[in-house]
Symmetry: C2
Subunit: 350 residues, 2 copies
């Protein structure tokens, strides 16, 4: 595939302050990805008004009009069959082959439900997952599921371990990723049944996975594992707790410095360091969660992000297209005997 033909479809009406933030984000992403063409789905009057501010985007953006949108408060079941929403049409462009990935900052539940319905879950997999890379003290690790599946059984978790293994190898370049199940204790009997069963399954498969057992949340930052597997509820709780805690610490530091004259004297010397750290930990840099396990590339941007954050989601989609991400996962999953996992589960039940 030539890099000259990259096309990304964008739900221009998704997220807070759309389409302004979306178009500004595309403009930032365009600077680093001159080879990408964008298909923008949304209210053409509004989208064109934003595009006018960036003449350099004229040749690479095509606007497709729609006057229906998915709102944040819409239930996925309400909007899933509405083929006229910007979100639906943007995803459908991937199915039709008009785009190689879709990016949306809209309603996560709806994006997952529509992506699943249109792009379909990959052959041999039971459930797709939402996945992202997060930083730890020595680098990055892959975390999944982050919210696609509120409840998961052991087979789902074991499948996520397999998908996570592929992701860590291909997106982080780790040869033999250490895979762990997120749990509330290291001991065999701690936590929920489905986690125990999943551990057993992963150990019992003939896959050559580097499974290291359970990881507790406070160990994630220590870099003990390269792939952190959990159900979507737990993963979402952990991810949002990280976000909130990092913010709280930064806020407390600011507040304490503000009240100390001594600290104010020393602060200018530390500013470059603090700025550098803020940059390293900037959640916008990690924006662009991947929906993995679908026959097409769907990338979710944080709904409340700004233009820079949205541009990172686009960058991420472009990177995954260039890595031939979907095809790579499909090929690896084809060689994995996932039925073995289900059998394992049946033995356990009967």
């Amino acid at each position: 595939m030539s890099d000259n033909n990259l096309v990304i479809s964008v739900d221009a009406m998704g997220g807070d302050n759309s389409p302004r933030v979306v178009v500004e984000g595309i403009n930032i992403a365009h600077k680093n990805n001159k080879d990408i063409n964008f298909l923008l789905f949304g209210d053409e009057v509004k989208v064109n008004a934003e595009l006018k501010r960036f003449p350099q985007l004229k040749h690479c953006c095509t606007v497709v009009h729609t006057n229906e949108f998915v709102h944040n408060e819409d239930k996925p079941s309400q909007v899933i069959r509405n083929k006229n929403t910007s979100m639906y049409m943007a995803i459908d462009a991937v199915r039709q082959g008009n785009a190689m990935a879709v990016v949306s900052a809209g309603n996560t539940g709806a994006l997952m439900a529509i992506s699943k319905m249109i792009l379909k879950t990959m052959h041999r997999l039971h459930r797709p997952a939402i996945c992202t890379n997060i930083p730890h003290k020595d680098g990055m690790c892959v975390m999944l599921d982050l919210g696609a599946n509120t409840e998961c059984n052991a087979v789902n978790l074991a499948e996520f371990a397999i998908i996570g293994n592929i992701l860590a190898r291909h997106t982080l370049g780790i040869e033999r990723p250490r895979i762990a199940l997120l749990n509330i204790g290291a001991e065999e009997m701690k936590g929920r049944d489905e986690i125990h069963q999943a551990a057993k399954m992963i150990r019992n498969t003939h896959l050559d996975l580097n499974f290291i057992g359970y990881i507790e949340p406070h160990q994630i930052g220590e870099g003990y594992a390269d792939v952190i597997v959990s159900d979507g509820f737990t993963g979402n709780i952990a991810l949002k707790t990280m976000e909130g805690t990092a913010k709280l610490v930064a806020r407390m530091l600011k507040k304490t410095i503000k009240h100390s004259i001594m600290a104010k004297i020393g602060l200018p010397f530390l500013l470059p360091v603090l700025w550098g750290m803020k940059k390293t930990m900037d959640p916008r840099k990690y924006n662009g969660a991947m929906f993995v396990g679908l026959n097409g590339l769907s990338v979710k941007s944080h709904g409340g992000t700004d233009a820079l954050g949205f541009s990172y989601a686009v960058d991420n989609a472009a990177k995954l297209i260039r890595q031939n991400f979907v095809q790579t996962i499909r090929e690896e999953v084809e060689h994995v005997d996932l039925d073995e996992l289900s059998q394992e589960m049946l033995y356990d039940v009967y």
Copy 2:
């Protein structure tokens, strides 16, 4: 109750590096609580060897010998009926009226199981919970359950809301605590079924609770709620994620400063501030999780804490004894129509 009679029973063999850390912790706690007598259960040779280092503890510590102990890797079911362990005997001292609270840094699952069996769950409650106070940007909030109940139904969660309400009023002095259920979204349909049902129950009871709906983990630090309610698995995940993230941020700051000459110049000016912040956020200060909903006071210290951390757990137990904590909860729960909650649940099912 005269303050001259406070007795706390201690599982001297619980936690890493026991009984050394335990005895050193008691010595620190003793300085601020001269009125407390301690009943120490454990290997008398080892415990007395440690006590010898602190002659000032001689008059306030009584050692009761036992040569059996609960280990960290013991399953609660294996040890629950062994009446000769230091943990069992320390808890039983509360039932017998020889102590007003028990403190242990041992196996959490075993401590909860034995406490529950010996002290019994309070009349009208279905399940006890593990609870602690955590900091947010403007103060503190109460969080429960933190690990006693891996799975919870809606009634359990609603009961925790009621207990949390009492706790926030009495331990934090908040007149009308804002109560929230921990969830992965603010919208009505987000998250798990039992959470939706619990929200409905809490709203429908005739209790005058200040229920504000769902809270997402990144909002905890913002101080949106005074009581955060979740099942024990989710609460444990969130708490340990906070711990890990705070540590990661501190570690990254340290590392970045180390590599910058400028930062090293400014650092001395900021040291008092950084030390102050480290002190504020020191997890040892928040050590001593309460088991609430039992007919007796059982306090869990972190297993890996040091003497200072253990002393905070003892301090906390002493504070709760002085507040007549168990009796207060019992009286309030007696006036709460918890059966109403169960009825609500039945209506929902049938």
